[in-house]
């Protein structure tokens, strides 16, 4: 994807937020018309050919989060009220099988019209022509409403291939009973987050307290190996240089970051079953809710599931551990239009409808996600539940390293992710040394293709 500009040079979202805030303030007077543009897209954007008489049957595909399906169907129904001739069917594609589903559907010329995809996936499909550029369907200044990093990550060679809908990130879940037992003090701000040393010491105490393990990590199979990357970047390392091609992990920082994480496995602090390739969402959650671990580093989107099993006074959220800097996972999704869509203008119009200010707010508040529109990013959202915890995730989201986001949206990132899964697994669970692992990852990156 295109370079993510970093005005302050340190590559942190939080710093760039200064510009974002400035842009938001400067645009305050224009907010009214901008909002109007969001809610009545059919009449204000070049390339839009959607009117009340438009007829089209579209398919939107998403992964299977029940609450999200409800929300998308609600948007489809609302859109139909405005455009009675347009029917949008919401279909589920299992996230773990996204690549093969979409490859075969695109090759067969029958891919869904609108595709929900992640930051880690969009690069490949944009590069290979699977997603069409949306620029013709968007006003020239449409992207100004979005967080700078997110909007930049949605582009390839200056063309927009998806509209950001939301983001999400990792933070640390902790069990209050276990923390009380080990006498841990919980960080109340990002600045006070546990250092690596603090976290390691705490994890050893937690393991003694639980008698089993200490910390579960949010791996959910091969496709999620990239979730280890925040630890590389918070230690000052990089996966790939700024040119987007040259491997940069085989450095002292890279090797040390791998070694630190490996220690969590070798000391039995992470449950044995919590491997990169073998983990499932339910199994990881279960280790936390059943008390086998006292800590869990995972995303905001599983809070609802945790809350169903554990009473709110039994658990809470704090920040990710930090090292030389803070960092966290880049999660979230974009909506794109497939090259096989017969009604790309309608599909693009619906996406703009879903991603307008009001619907983004609704989606995030209802399904516990973080917004990507600048005006919403600075607003305290009225979350359906766990508002306090969500505010900590929102703070943590500002620590997502821009350099890491740039790497994760590279067209060949799916292949790079596979290299990470293979080599980190060999190191964390097998006998491969961190030094050999860093070298093998660097080799793999050189051969990764889109």
């Amino acid at each position: 994807m295109s370079a993510l500009s970093s005005p302050d040079g340190d590559g942190r979202l939080s710093r760039r937020a200064v510009l974002r805030y400035a842009a938001a303030a400067a645009g305050a007077m224009a907010l009214g018309p901008a909002m109007a543009a969001c809610t009545s897209p059919s009449t204000s954007s070049p390339g839009a050919t959607v009117g009340p008489d438009t007829k089209a049957d579209l398919v939107l595909t998403t992964w299977n989060i029940p609450a999200d399906l409800v929300a998308y169907r609600r948007f489809a129904a609302q859109y139909k009220q405005k455009h009675p001739g347009v029917t949008i069917k919401v279909q589920v594609t299992p996230n773990g099988d996204f690549n093969q589903y979409l490859s075969t559907q695109l090759a067969g010329g029958n891919a869904p019209d609108i595709i929900r995809n992640t930051w880690q996936q969009i690069g490949r499909w944009a590069q290979n022509g699977g997603f069409i550029p949306l620029d013709d369907y968007l006003a020239p200044d449409y992207g100004k409403g979005f967080g700078e990093t997110f909007w930049a990550a949605a582009q390839l060679d200056g063309k927009v291939h998806g509209i950001p809908q939301h983001t999400d990130t990792f933070a640390t879940y902790y069990r209050t009973d276990v923390m009380q037992r080990v006498g841990a003090s919980i960080p109340s701000s990002l600045d006070a987050a546990w250092s690596w040393d603090d976290f390691l010491s705490l994890a050893r105490e937690v393991k003694k307290a639980t008698g089993k393990a200490a910390v579960a990590y949010g791996f959910e199979g091969v496709n999620t190996a990239y979730r280890w990357l925040p630890f590389l970047y918070m230690h000052g390392g990089q996966l790939v240089k700024d040119d987007g091609r040259t491997p940069a992990i085989d450095t002292p920082e890279g090797v040390e970051a791998i070694a630190w994480f490996q220690q969590l496995y070798t000391e039995g602090l992470i449950p044995k079953s919590n491997t990169i390739k073998g983990s499932t969402t339910a199994a990881v959650e279960n280790t936390f809710t059943s008390g086998q671990v006292g800590l869990m580093i995972f995303g905001d989107w599983i809070m609802g599931e945790v809350a169903k099993v554990l009473a709110q006074d039994k658990w809470d959220i704090t920040y990710m551990p930090k090292d030389r800097s803070a960092a966290s996972d880049l999660g979230g999704n974009l909506l794109s239009v497939s090259k096989t869509s017969k009604n790309p203008a309608v599909a693009a119009d619906f996406i703009r409808f879903v991603c307008d200010q009001a619907n983004m707010k609704y989606f995030c508040e209802t399904d516990l996600f973080l917004p990507v529109r600048t005006t919403l990013m600075d607003e305290k959202l009225d979350y359906a539940s766990n508002a306090d915890q969500m505010s900590r995730f929102a703070e943590q989201a500002k620590t997502v390293p821009a350099a890491m986001a740039k790497v994760e949206t590279l067209p060949n990132f799916a292949a790079i992710n596979q290299v990470l899964a293979d080599q980190l697994d060999l190191c964390f669970i097998g006998q491969q040394t961190p030094k050999a692992t860093a070298a093998a990852i660097a080799d793999g990156i050189k051969n990764a293709r889109s």
Partner: protein, 320 residues
């Protein structure tokens, strides 16, 4: 048609000599022969069309793709034998070949032997025999993915029921799915459990087809249970064993769902078999041409094994 052929071949039917009859008979015979030649094709043509469309055509396309550098979807450039060269020099390819061999050796004889054992046991009069047979057959009708998910829970290294049982009887816990040395064993156990039912039913049908008079005669002649089994039952089960071994090898070389769900090919590469390797080459690494080359290798290996087994079997039959 059938009666014409049988009349022609049946020596007991006598055809009277007659001046015009040879001509008429010869015309009839010619028609019969023509019908006999065409009829089989008419019967198999629907299957043949479907096979051609859904098996032979994709196979041919895969062979063509294997000589190309193909993007994730559509478009490709001709690269000759490059994909095959890459394949033969790839360490991961040979790792997956080795894992496939280990997996096949671990599953084929084990599931056939256990299936035979169960079939012999359940071929006797036992109370609740029907229920026991159904229970053993049950895994065969359950989705492989569902079975695998249950297995993941059972063999979980932290809170699985299998480790809990081992611990309860004083045995050490085993890192079933999280240890590179145990993961393949665990996957083999899961697959064998899923396959036993089909082997049992097939052997049971074959056992019930054996003429009891043969066994009774041997018993009267003083043959013990082992002698009756090894000298009479086992040789008569040969065609069934051959069928099951061929099917089992094909199933093992094509194994995917259980491994995909249980280990994702890991830890490391410890359970990455050929199909897993093809899948990741195609859909994750985006190398469709290369994945096709590995697929062609797999088809060739399957064909070679089938031909080899067929020749060995024929030679064995000739010797006996």
């Amino acid at each position: 048609m059938t009666s014409a052929i049988s009349r022609e071949r049946d020596p007991s039917i006598r055809v009277e000599p007659h001046a015009r009859r040879p001509h008429r008979a010869s015309a009839g015979a010619r028609r019969s022969r023509r019908v006999a030649r065409v009829a089989p094709w008419a019967f198999i043509s629907p299957s043949l069309v479907l096979f051609a469309l859904f098996a032979f055509a994709p196979l041919g396309a895969a062979v063509v793709l294997s000589f190309q550098d193909v993007q994730v979807f559509g478009g490709g450039t001709w690269v000759g034998l490059q994909n095959y060269e890459t394949m033969l020099t790839s360490g991961l390819f040979w790792t997956s070949v080795w894992n496939t061999v280990v997996f096949t050796l671990g599953t084929v004889p084990t599931s056939a032997a256990l299936g035979l054992l169960l079939a012999v046991m359940l071929n006797r009069r036992l109370p609740g025999r029907g229920i026991i047979r159904s229970l053993y057959f049950l895994p065969m009708v359950v989705s492989g993915v569902a079975v695998s998910l249950v297995m993941v829970w059972m063999f979980n290294s932290d809170n699985g029921i299998v480790d809990a049982f081992l611990q309860a009887v004083g045995l050490p816990r085993v890192d079933w799915l999280s240890s590179p040395s145990w993961a393949m064993v665990t996957v083999i156990l899961a697959v064998v459990w899923g396959r036993i039912g089909f082997r049992m039913v097939t052997y049971l049908a074959a056992l019930q087809g054996i003429n009891p008079a043969l066994l009774e005669a041997a018993q009267i002649d003083g043959a013990g249970a082992w002698a009756r089994f090894s000298r009479i039952t086992w040789p008569l089960l040969n065609p069934t064993t051959y069928l099951l071994i061929v099917l089992n090898i094909v199933f093992s070389l094509q194994a995917f769902d259980v491994i995909y769900v249980m280990t994702g090919g890991g830890p490391g590469f410890s359970t990455t078999v050929l199909i897993q390797y093809i899948f990741r080459s195609a859909f994750t690494d985006g190398k469709m041409g290369y994945a096709s080359a590995v697929g062609v290798f797999l088809v060739a290996a399957l064909l070679a094994l089938t031909v080899l087994r067929s020749r060995l079997s024929r030679r064995t039959e000739d010797l006996t």
